[in-house]
Subunit: 433 residues, 2 copies
């Protein structure tokens, strides 16, 4: 059986899992691939103690993998931007195929990397970068190839979803974050996860593969979950909604919405049921309708599962000396067309608003009038007598879908009312229609 030779850069969580699964399921994987996937070289600065390398040559210099002429496929699992970019570009220049789990690299440097790879005719595969073990890139690029994809929405950061799930018990953000860090679900520096950067990386990649547009991570809007309170989470539940940190990409005639932010989703929708560290992506296509992909969005072997799926795809191509290719972003380079990313003022959404009002007659009427004057319909509104405190009472409401500019104008007018104290809380809501 033909051998295809793999060089692995980085033996941390995902690299270690990749070696383990490649070994444990070697016969099964070669039975599927039609060739043997052999690890011929490894480079890592620090390696997991449980990974035995045996007689596989290894070093601490990842560029040794690029220099090894035996290596057909370089697997980039070192993470980060600069060295990873250099490494991948060097591998491409050396005519090697690349498999990576590095969402940041693809989201930020993908256009440059894919252009270089196209020139050399090599594959750059990145399934493991998006939603861990869920084969959602394959679904979007290949499985849904018939469709004009209208939009996709994903719970694509397990740490954030774990925190939001736990906050439903009434605990504040900081307390749950500290617990998540203790459990190893959150990094010591949780910024990437809780601010939405990680989700925006993944969303940017999915949006490009879905719509055939260049990667434009720098134009993605991100809003984190730090400011969410158990108070609003429980009021959202009272309205029949659950708060999720959602990435949403929508293709419109006039541009593309590309945004990550806390979002109310219907509690009875499948997306409302995605709890803990799990991920899910809902994709709306013009022919198929809505399909959902759900599973582990992180973890050693779950992510390794996607790394190896890509390795099998690439190995089939290497073994057959074939130039048959799935385009990097689903569309051939000539079919990728630029489409502007819409500023947030122009996106369309439903909204949850919480207004801290002084308990005077007519406040609710004034709020309703402002919304009406701005052309905003109200889905439901509540003002709970039981929450009256210190002369104040919250007015909580859910709107129909409107342009964000409208809601911001209405909020400014509400905040100018004498009857309203402080800022209006605004959380976007999504009904997946």
């Amino acid at each position: 059986m033909k051998q295809v030779k793999i060089g692995i850069c980085g033996l941390g969580t995902v690299g270690g899992g990749t070696v383990q699964v490649l070994r444990r399921n070697a016969a099964l994987i070669s039975g599927r691939a039609g060739c043997e996937l052999t690890i011929t070289r490894v480079a890592t600065r620090s390696k997991r103690g449980d990974i035995e390398l045996g007689d596989i040559p290894s070093s601490t210099d990842v560029f040794d993998v690029v220099r090894d002429p035996e290596v057909d496929i370089l697997v980039e699992l070192i993470g980060g931007y600069d060295t990873a970019r250099e490494l991948v570009l060097a591998a491409i220049a050396a005519g090697k195929h690349v498999v990576t789990a590095n969402k940041a690299l693809i989201a930020v440097h993908g256009n440059e990397i894919f252009a270089a790879a196209a020139q050399k005719g090599v594959i750059v595969a990145y399934e493991a970068g998006v939603a861990g073990g869920i084969p959602v890139i394959k679904a979007i690029r290949e499985g849904l190839a018939a469709n004009r994809i209208n939009w996709l929405a994903g719970i694509i950061n397990g740490t954030g979803n774990y925190i939001l799930t736990e906050m439903r018990t009434g605990r504040p953000f900081d307390e749950v974050l500290a617990e998540a860090q203790a459990l190893g679900y959150a990094e010591a520096d949780p910024t990437f996860d809780v601010e939405g950067t990680d989700a925006a990386h993944k969303l940017t990649i999915m949006a490009s593969a879905a719509f055939g547009v260049p990667l434009q991570f720098e134009r993605a809007y991100t809003e984190g979950i730090r400011d969410l309170t158990p108070y609003d989470i429980s009021h959202a539940e009272a309205l029949g909604y659950r708060v999720k940190h959602l990435g949403i990409a929508r293709q419109r005639e006039d541009g593309i919405e590309l945004r990550v932010h806390p979002t109310l989703v219907p509690v009875n929708h499948m997306m409302g049921k995605v709890d803990g560290v799990l991920n899910a992506i809902l994709v709306d296509g013009d022919a198929v309708g809505q399909t959902l992909y759900h599973g582990p969005g992180a973890g050693s072997e779950a992510t390794a599962s996607s790394v190896i799926a890509d390795l099998v795809d690439v190995a089939r191509s290497v073994a057959a000396s074939s130039n048959q290719r799935v385009p990097y972003l689903g569309f051939g380079p000539e079919a990728v067309t630029d489409h502007r990313i819409l500023p947030m003022d122009e996106i369309r959404s439903a909204y949850y608003l919480r207004i801290q009002a002084f308990d005077r007659p007519g406040v609710l009427a004034k709020v309703a009038t402002i919304l009406s004057d701005n052309g905003i319909n109200i889905e439901s509104i509540m003002q709970k007598e039981s929450e009256f405190q210190d002369g104040r009472i919250p007015v909580i409401l859910l709107t129909h879908t409107v342009q964000e500019r409208q809601i911001n104008q209405a909020i400014a007018q509400m905040e100018a009312l004498e009857d309203v104290e402080g800022n209006v809380v605004r959380i976007r809501a999504e009904n997946f229609l």
Copy 2:
């Protein structure tokens, strides 16, 4: 741009949808495929009135498509067994690739068809045959290629799931079936759907792709939903379970479980939330863990979405004159190994039992003793005083997972008790552990 030429056999629901989507999204699809997918010939006995063929040559003889030397890919959408088998084998013999939506054909004649196709080096693709628009074959064959798949479980018949969803309102099977027929969700002859044949076709195909075993439809166990009552459905709900018509395939050391039957699933599990005509497949792999695929399991354009995804895959191969292949059933012919299908006596499951007992002291104790004597643990048991009627009271219980032989022995012993009237109702239950 290179043209790849398609001949379509059958212009009914799916064929019509395929033509419509290929036309509507022509630019987008060629942008993804890297070549133009051109319909060069059509053959159909009866065609949907809304499909305009223009100057595409058409006839009523599907073998005209085989005889047309221009055709690169034959799309078989005529359904059924005999003519479809002849047609596909003739296309293969003529060196044409085949895309089909015919689950019955693949489940029953797939081994023969794939052997013939392997000899000629042509592709036979069948994503549209399983779960309509959900790209689950691609997920199993490619996306999860790293995994030893332990089991998969699917709600894979929309008609049956619609009926079971409606029966939760307390209406009997016959009434809901008649309504489903009136709405066009069920065929005039609903046997394939409600008896589980259709689901068994799909399950057989998924099991072979997941485990690398030959197709063995004739050994799949099927049990329909006709005998389910709203009474048991509501008692399952009281226990925290929902009744679904599930296809389950499990790989064990000693063989493979391959079975379609009514099954209790936890109401809080994602599989318990799949309502109406939707489909969902849950797959458990050793590396990735559990991933779920959810969406429309039928319908004109949803199924066309999968037909066209296969066409794009095949067209890439044709355009690149490549011999790169994904094996028909995920595993290369030499890696497909026979593995016996376990008889139902040997499967392992949890069980819901309903025992119609005469209301005498000690009945529950006798039932519990019989279960205990057979090594069966009880998860929960209830005997509702409010349901006492005519001197009889139902004993309803849920067991832990045991071998089916054990439960059948216990049931025989219960039915021999003087205190028990008639047959014990037995429905399998699944916790997806």
